[in-house]
Symmetry: C2
Subunit: 354 residues, 2 copies
């Protein structure tokens, strides 16, 4: 494995000095890229794309060929874990993921398997190994998983939802059963991330897409508690370097202090949080990832640069900031607009690292 | 018009002493009630239900026949205003509202009309007058409108959206055009609410369902600014009483202080905000409405009572709290569960008003 030539991301996540603010983009390997759409079509289905290491590797590397990004993130889907636990997973064109047999009872929860990541999720580990070999030390590779709460919402609703009736119903009416499910998910996610680290992931991230649906106390009980357990169980060294872990709760702006206390190295924030406020609240405890509004990429180039400048100024001096959008890049964005953003981050961030 | 026999709501919104905490429920006239579904079916379409004063009055009163609620809220839809400005509005079964001709250009915005509420929205005013007559002073009637930002999202996207690509695109790429649209909407909404007050609404509320999609600065510029203008333009006296105004931004927990500074009488909060924190932040400036998780109504009765007790204790002693859910009641809720909630609010809130 080649020496890591660009370690800005890892250094910033650990608040070590950097020359410029590193930048990567959530969903940087995705539908806004014509080459992604081409590979996706060749794969035939989204599941084939995720589960074929060569194809997953190909799309993981695509954005790096276009933009001077400071990290690769494994192309995969958070629902690989419930699928490996035995749930049938379908992706219907235009409708997103679904589980035709959603979890509703104690028997459903007890029937879930405890996957061995090197067996049931071997294709993910093979993709990680392949990407690391292809990257050959150019930039670090980020591994990831969904948070237990977020995975539970899909498993209980059977797909995306607007009411979260069954998930919240289980939480309010059968809290013990919900905790049992979340414990099982925390165990599986922890094993999954550790396997990604052993396979070569140099940083890991937990995506808590739906933690923001919870009330303040419920967020701590049903989402953060289980992310904290996972963080505590991670094997956070590889290649004689620390493997930083980032927590991202979309809509979690109210709970930054609690997230920063979880043992993680960095907290991801969405665009509804003011970056300056976030840094004042988090202080030097952990790094911060974020947080430009993904829709700022619909603005003219000069406005994109202004918005980037605003986020950089919000964080202010010193290391500990990983530039990103506040949520995934949208499928309709012109890739040329992302080039403007990436260049602006590198060009405008130098003064903050002197 | 009969004397108002239960004025708890109006008193609590103005932080005047009350015997118990008043309670009403967002979407209390709605699909969870079998009698609503019956009237809705008889009407044939959702638009007919909204635009026929007798039917709108009938469903407005239905929840009051079942539960000892402290207010009626007019049955209507926030999209009546864009429709009155000339946009064709459709409600498709199971898909929600849509505007087949969404706003995308300056010409589209300039082409909008400036409706006279007693002409183009006469059916709403007739419904207000009818409901007031039927209520005969039992409880106050709340009128409402959508916030300019929230209406703009529907008008620009052409319906519900998951990306808000066009709305945010206009905001970032053509901010002046967006401000022009929001100004026109603010004028129309202000005239609409004043007409509701003249027709008999005894309190009014602005629903900013999508303000929470905005970054901190953008929320002030594109949503709160226009709600503040509307508040300043309201004729806030009727029947020799003050007409209190409530602002509710879903996902607006970060901006409670700014909302409280808008000139409103009360701020509505969703369930992601801790009620105790909200009161500490808002202090005695304005009243607070909220904020139980709507999904708590899926819990057993004893748990519902515990959750109600928690919200009441969070607000603490004294007037200034209007109990509500943190968002609309869900269509799947058993009405018997709502009865438990309403009774619990009245029974458990007495000690906070001694």
């Amino acid at each position: 494995m080649g020496e890591l030539r660009n370690d800005r991301l890892l250094r910033a996540l650990l608040r070590e000095p950097v020359d410029r603010t590193p930048v990567w983009i959530m969903r940087q390997a995705g539908r806004y890229l014509p080459e992604y759409r081409e590979t996706r079509q060749r794969a035939g289905s989204f599941l084939t794309l995720c589960s074929t290491p060569e194809l997953a590797c190909e799309v993981t590397l695509q954005p790096l060929a276009r933009f001077p990004l400071d990290a690769a993130i494994l192309f995969s889907d958070i629902l690989t874990v419930p699928a490996a636990m035995g749930m049938e997973l379908k992706f219907t064109e235009g409708e997103g993921p679904s589980f035709p047999g959603p979890l509703r009872s104690a028997a459903d929860v007890e029937g879930l398997g405890s996957p061995d990541p090197e067996v049931e999720l071997r294709y993910v580990m093979d993709a990680v190994r392949l990407v690391r070999r292809e990257l050959d030390g150019a930039v670090p590779l980020i591994g990831f998983a969904g948070s237990p709460w977020t995975l539970a919402t899909y498993m209980i609703e059977g797909g995306s939802s607007s009411h979260y009736r069954f998930t919240k119903g289980m939480m309010f009416a059968e809290p013990r059963l919900m905790h049992r499910l979340l414990e099982r998910l925390a165990d599986s996610v922890c094993a999954y991330l550790n396997a990604q680290i052993r396979a070569g992931a140099q940083a890991v991230m937990l995506f808590d897409t739906w933690g923001g649906l919870l009330g303040a106390r419920d967020y701590e009980d049903f989402s953060l508690q289980y992310m904290t357990r996972i963080v505590a169980g991670l094997e956070r060294r590889a290649d004689e370097r620390q493997v930083p872990v980032t927590l991202f709760t979309k809509g979690g702006g109210a709970w930054l202090e609690q997230m920063a206390d979880s043992g993680c190295d960095a907290v991801g924030i969405d665009w509804t949080v003011d970056m300056g406020d976030a840094r004042r609240r988090i202080g030097h405890k952990v790094a911060i990832q974020g947080n430009l509004d993904p829709c700022a990429l619909y603005a003219p180039p000069e406005r994109i640069r202004e918005e980037v400048a605003g986020v950089l100024a919000g964080y202010g001096m010193g290391s500990g900031h990983v530039f990103n959008l506040g949520h995934g890049i949208q499928p309709f964005v012109d890739p040329a607009q992302l080039a403007v953003l990436v260049d602006a981050v590198h060009a405008l961030s130098e003064p903050y690292h002197q």
